[in-house]
């Protein structure tokens, strides 16, 4: 292993140790210092809270009660009273829920289960990241070829824009929004649904395919492309065997177009794209955790993380977050190793 790679690994190790030290410190602080205070109630509030017909989460009910209280007494702030009552009600509900469930910490209470959940999450993360890298490159390449073909849906331009924009709205929807929409049809605890949402929603696919497209467009302006044009390298962007732009080559993972100008543009764009994959890995973790938390997928890592937060097991929460950090760090090391190998090959690194 070269000196450069050793130095990269050393940097990763230092960052990991710093974060691990920080989280351990925060965990110790939370164990020794955190004592939640309970909200106080008064007899009038208790009377209001006993009325089962009131929904304290409903803004209409809240506004009506606040108005009634304002009319009843000039001195009392109806809105503040309603806010405190709603808070007390939610405290009571959460307390009942806590009593019903067991409050044992996951990491320090059941370590093998924690490891199993971490491995399960890592598998889904790896799969989603792999498909996202392929998908964003494929979509970026397809859009690049389309732009070079100069194809326009003439006559139906308006409707094409409308459809595209609606498609864009779906691609930019947060995953949990789409999951709630589909809830009557598909159960939200399905792993396939989670993977699909991780791929399609949250803007990941469209944003990272756009980044790949931008890289390809930048490459197109470079001197070696102009030199290749002068030397009459194949520049036919129509699909088919004559141009080497077959669907098999476009959809394949390696995407080779030998003898075509696209081949070198793609190689150079892909090489630069690996720096973006590091960013994509962190974003994928974020969106998957948000999906698991928001959809309350029981037994999954994100859900367990949220549950430990709810129980106030902050030491477990920090240990679980460190687990996520470890996944990202390992992914970064793998990406850096790949970039290093590429640089050895193309830039004569030692």
């Amino acid at each position: 292993m070269g000196q450069i790679m050793k130095s990269i690994l050393f940097n990763h190790l230092v960052v990991f140790l710093i974060i691990a030290g920080l989280f351990t410190g925060l965990g110790l602080v939370s164990v020794f210092l955190y004592h939640p205070e309970k909200a106080e109630s008064n007899p009038e509030m208790t009377k209001w809270l006993q009325d089962s017909t009131i929904n304290w989460q409903d803004p209409l009910h809240q506004a009506l009660i606040a108005d009634v209280l304002d009319l009843k007494s000039v001195e009392q702030d109806g809105e503040a009273f309603v806010r405190s009552a709603a808070r007390l009600k939610s405290d009571e509900t959460a307390k009942t829920l806590e009593q019903l469930r067991h409050q044992k910490g996951l990491v320090f209470g059941d370590f093998p289960d924690f490891l199993l959940k971490l491995l399960g999450f890592s598998f889904i993360f790896g799969l989603v990241l792999f498909i996202l890298v392929w998908g964003s490159q494929t979509l970026g390449l397809y859009r690049f070829i389309r732009s070079k073909q100069g194809k326009r849906t003439s006559g139906k331009q308006f409707w094409h824009s409308v459809y595209s924009f609606f498609g864009l709205l779906i691609l930019f929807s947060p995953g949990y929004l789409i999951a709630y929409m589909l809830k009557p049809l598909i159960p939200s605890d399905s792993i396939i649904l989670m993977i699909s949402l991780g791929l399609i929603t949250n803007g990941a696919l469209i944003v990272y395919s756009q980044k790949f497209l931008n890289l390809m467009n930048q490459e197109m302006d470079k001197g070696y492309v102009l030199a290749a044009r002068i030397r009459n390298v194949n520049e036919n962007f129509e699909n088919g065997h004559q141009s080497n732009l077959t669907w098999k080559a476009i959809l394949g993972f390696h995407k080779h177009f030998p003898g075509h100008i696209l081949h070198h543009i793609l190689l150079n764009a892909k090489r630069q794209y690996w720096n973006t994959v590091r960013e994509l890995a962190a974003f994928t973790i974020t969106s998957l955790i948000i999906l698991e938390m928001a959809l309350n997928i029981q037994g999954r890592y994100g859900y367990e993380l949220l549950r430990q937060v709810l129980y106030g097991n902050y030491a477990d929460v920090l240990a679980m977050m460190l687990g996520l950090f470890l996944i990202v760090k390992l992914t970064e090391v793998a990406i850096d190793f790949h970039i290093y190998k590429q640089k050895l090959k193309f830039e004569n690194w030692k």
Binding site: N11, H12, V15, F16, I18, I19, L26, Y34, P36, E37, Q57, D58, P59, L60, Q62, A63, R83, A86, R87, S90, D91, A94, L97, E98, F165, L168, L169, F172, S173, P174, Y176, L177, Y180, M181, L182, K183, P184, L185, N202, G203, I206, Q210, A282, I285, T286, I289, I290, A294, N296, L305, L306, V309, L310, Y314, V317, M321, L324, F325, V328, E332
Partner: protein, 289 residues
């Protein structure tokens, strides 16, 4: 000579067009909500939107301040041959770069939750500022990367060495010549993408938080944002009702009057995200970034 009677409409750039489309979409929704949505819900939805925009502004300001501080620290230390200081700065940046945003956000929101529980932080403005600062800290490294990339680009040319030899002060060269005069489009582009990222992260974390981050801190304690509005049971039911269309397509017109709270919130989030992507793209193309 016949005068040209055709009115000349000034051509707008695509990014300006998308800004206008965003404003128009938001205005149409506001008018629709004023007509069909009940008053308490209307106030909460638009207060949530306003709060979300305010948090975004605070977040972007925090990200800008932090990124300028860290990037100038690294660059000026390097130029003045203080490699240890520069490496410390790079390490600091690497830490933030490696931490997934969700971890940073959860840690930040945990601290905020503890502060609210202990009643140290009580005012709505203070809580919103806390949201903004947390998101800003999480995303600032993207701004720093861009600023450092610009410095690296100028260092490849003779511009930096020639200016320094000619006696231009380092701070003037860095802040005025490189970042202000020659990187403004890059900075604006980053602000546009940062705006989208802030909206996405804030809405997601607020949604998660409202689902249940703490038993003692509920959405009632926190000022409403689009994420917390979406997590309300009414909004969730409104979103669920879209699924009815798969079995009963004729239910479509009812969505826009009966389930307006959830749909308005969802539209505000998704439309803002999609438009910020389009604005950013058009801006990148116009300035060939």
């Amino acid at each position: 000579m016949t005068p040209n009677l055709k009115m000349k409409i000034p051509s707008l750039s695509n990014d300006t067009k998308w800004i206008l489309i965003w404003l128009a979409g938001i205005s149409v929704l506001l008018v629709w909500d004023l007509v069909f949505l009940n008053k308490p819900a209307l106030v909460r939805v638009w207060l949530g939107f306003g709060n979300t925009l305010l948090v975004s502004a605070i977040s972007l300001t925090t990200a800008l301040l932090l990124s300028f501080t860290v990037s100038s620290w690294i660059t000026l230390s390097r130029w003045n041959e203080r490699p240890k200081l520069a490496r410390t700065g790079e390490l600091f940046l690497n830490i933030f770069r490696s931490v997934p945003q969700i971890i940073g956000l959860l840690t930040g929101f945990l601290i905020l939750t503890l502060l609210v529980t202990a009643e140290i932080m009580t005012g709505k403005t203070a809580i919103l500022t806390g949201f903004g600062v947390t998101v800003g800290v999480v995303i600032f490294y993207e701004f720093s990367d861009m600023l450092l990339e610009r410095v690296a680009w100028f260092e490849q040319t003779d511009f930096v060495s020639a200016s320094r030899t000619a006696g231009v002060p380092d701070t003037h060269l860095l802040f005025i010549e490189i970042w202000m005069r020659n990187s403004l489009p890059h900075l604006i582009n980053k602000l546009i993408s940062g705006f989208g990222a802030t909206i996405f992260l804030l809405c997601s974390i607020d949604f998660v938080l409202s689902v249940g981050l703490s038993s003692s801190v509920s959405p009632i304690n926190f000022p409403p944002t689009l994420g917390s509005m979406l997590a309300q049971i009414d909004s969730k039911q409104d979103i669920l009702s879209i699924g009815i269309l798969f079995t009963d397509p004729f239910y479509f017109p009812s969505l826009f009057t009966r389930h307006l709270q959830g749909l308005s919130v969802a539209f505000l989030i998704v439309f803002t995200l999609a438009c910020s992507f389009k604005i950013g793209n058009a801006f990148t193309r116009r300035h060939r970034l």
